[in-house]
Symmetry: C2
Subunit: 407 residues, 2 copies
């Protein structure tokens, strides 16, 4: 994995005071978790392609997944289970087990049963995820042989191997761990995520797994997870396409200090910031991306309008090629705004556009667009609502990755 | 202009029996119209950039325009006028007069006044169109000098010059004329259109002007034009982006034979087919396009769902790069369908996909995808509604055209 530059714009994270990256951290940094990753033969490269994380003491959990109307078999399986009671997750990379019908459903269920048997859990306690090509059956013989191997390898040092195993063609793992000091102790948060660096087409799956030792109740964790997902992974777009497999799982092992005062809010802010940290890395590693841009829509009539305009700008191939070409092209943003508001009450005025606070027509605008990370702020002058979205640009590498490598 | 292959798939047009292309035809082929095009200095190349079409006997008209919420100044001006009474149109290429505020409104109105004075019409009888860069003022001195010149040059042979003048970086003019035999005579239909061949960014304007000598009433022409626009220019997508300038004008000079029986319906079908003929050429000349594909959605729950799914497939960068790469990638179509139906009642089964009637997984599917024009048929199994959309692919040339040539 060749890597890509880390997130530079720390202000994008919205982190609570004191949140700090732990060197070489992973999902096993918080107490109460072991993990591992092995190669079972799904990736032609021979790289790790099967990973497991397990809670070593009773954890509470919450899980969010895709809104795609044709979800993958693992997503359908996870939905039949209690989202607050997961104790382990098994992930394979290489094949998404999506669009595989009832045979795919059986394969996903079998994965949960095999892991449960190895770990002395019930199948209902095991989240299943698969990422890779859509429309192909899993090689269940290889997975069935790999599961005992990966379960035997689980350890407190296995977080990095797990993170490698869930990647497809990501240029680098997106994961790590953070510490949040509280009055009565320290909470730790680990994350392992993967994005959409494609070399074979149809790999467009976002997966993220968060671990923490925070002592939070299941109901609180649901609210924390919903807010973190809405503020991070649901605010990024590489190409406006929705995967059938997207999954965010948060597991809390509860070994950390008791929470008091505003601690719960700080933990929630920290989990949101950690998710955003990983989400922005997915944008930066998005299919050939050279720029990560925050599209900030301001002064919209309501929240829906703000989001609709932000997505119209961020998903516009004309805007995305202008970002790639470092072209301060105000007309394309105006066009996207007008497109997004088609059918709305008449728009009184053209939007005001700033690049890192500078007028788009100013002499310095081109210099801003040479940065790897910058803000495009679009003020509509219609109300008080706002929305932020992080997007990548549209480059030749995107076309090459998605056209020239055939399935 | 280097040209591009004409429309091969005549069955795509849905033309009435007997409709035939007239060699070297144009908007001046139908009786009752003169036209011309000159160079007034807006295009750096020195090519024609100012054109006029005028009815030489009282015509009825109808006009459709963009639903972009930030329409150009000419579109806003045309909307203040009686759409059934237009007798002439003036078009400049090079600058779109969009996002130019009240100064742009004054420029558009002045164009109509100058043309009206030359042609002994009222300004309200003159349609104004501008195409090119968004956000720049017109050079009104050049236009004011050019209008007397182009009005002096109007003739029955000027249709081709008009069609050249409205192009921006189109690889070829999209225009011609057709004849439709009826029981009591022949009706002729001419068209001049332009598309989105970009060499400077922000030129994304679709314009089309149809002339006919059919003897139709204004109310009928409105219905004919709405149906033709809905079935042609509103059914194409190069990059899913909506221009602030899109305009379709139909003018009928009424010199043709009286219509009887089902003649009115046949004329309507012919105008739809002629518009579709030009619309498909816009797709084929779309920014770097190598393939024109008809996306046929079948068995949708209702018409809205069918259109939503067709647009999700046709605008998906993953599907468009697969078309470019000739990759029969069923998974990407499934993903786009699931995305389009997100939030809808549960989808029972995966879509069935045919390429020119062949199963997408069949050995011959790659050969179909080598064709310049083919059908992707997607059956949803949810109901009886359908929708057709013509789209281009996403190529390296698209990225180059839109990123590497800076404004």
């Amino acid at each position: 994995m060749s890597g890509f530059p880390p997130v530079v714009r720390q202000d994008w994270l919205g982190a609570p005071d004191g949140l700090a990256l732990i060197p070489d951290g992973s999902v096993t940094t918080p107490g109460g978790f072991v993990a591992g990753g092995v190669a079972c033969g799904l990736k032609a490269s021979g790289a790790r392609d099967l990973g497991v994380v397990r809670a070593t003491r009773p954890a509470v959990s919450w899980l969010l997944d895709t809104t795609n109307a044709l979800p993958s078999a693992p997503v359908r399986l996870n939905r039949t289970r209690d989202r607050s009671g997961f104790q382990a997750v098994v992930v394979n990379a290489g094949i998404a087990n999506a669009a595989t019908g009832s045979a795919g459903d059986r394969d996903a269920r079998r994965m949960s049963e095999l892991v449960a048997a190895e770990l002395d859990l019930t199948p209902e306690q095991v989240v299943v995820s698969s990422t890779g090509v859509i429309g192909e059956r899993l090689h269940m013989d290889r997975i069935a042989a790999g599961i005992p191997a990966v379960c035997a390898a689980l350890s407190g040092d296995g977080g990095r191997a797990f993170n490698e195993a869930i990647c497809t063609t990501d240029r680098a793992v997106k994961g790590g761990a953070f510490r949040l000091p509280l009055d009565r102790g320290v909470v730790q948060i680990g994350i392992a995520a993967k994005g959409a660096g494609m070399i074979r087409p149809t790999m467009a799956t976002m997966l993220a797994y968060v671990t923490t030792d925070a002592a939070v109740a299941a109901a609180d964790l649901e609210a924390i997870t919903r807010r973190a997902g809405a503020g991070s992974f649901n605010r990024i777009s590489v190409d406006g396409q929705m995967s059938p497999s997207d999954t965010l799982l948060v597991m809390a092992s509860g070994g950390g200090p008791p929470l008091s005062g505003d601690d719960l809010g700080r933990v929630a802010d920290a989990i949101l910031a950690v998710c955003r940290w990983a989400a922005i890395q997915i944008v930066k590693d998005g299919e050939g991306a050279e720029h990560a841009v925050r599209v900030m829509v301001r002064d919209a009539r309501d929240a829906d309008e703000a989001e609709r305009v932000a997505r119209a700008i961020g998903d516009s191939p004309l805007v995305k090629t202008a970002i790639f070409g470092r072209d301060p092209n105000w007309g394309r943003i105006s066009q996207a705004v007008g497109h997004a508001l088609a059918g709305a009450p008449e728009v009184a005025c053209e939007p005001a556009v700033l690049l890192d606070g500078m007028q788009i027509g100013a002499a310095g605008a081109r210099a801003v667009m040479a940065l790897a990370e910058y803000d495009i702020e679009v003020a509509l002058g219609r109300g008080g609502a706002q929305y932020d979205l992080w997007v990548s640009d549209l480059t030749h590498a995107y076309v090459t990755l998605n056209a020239e490598y055939h399935t």
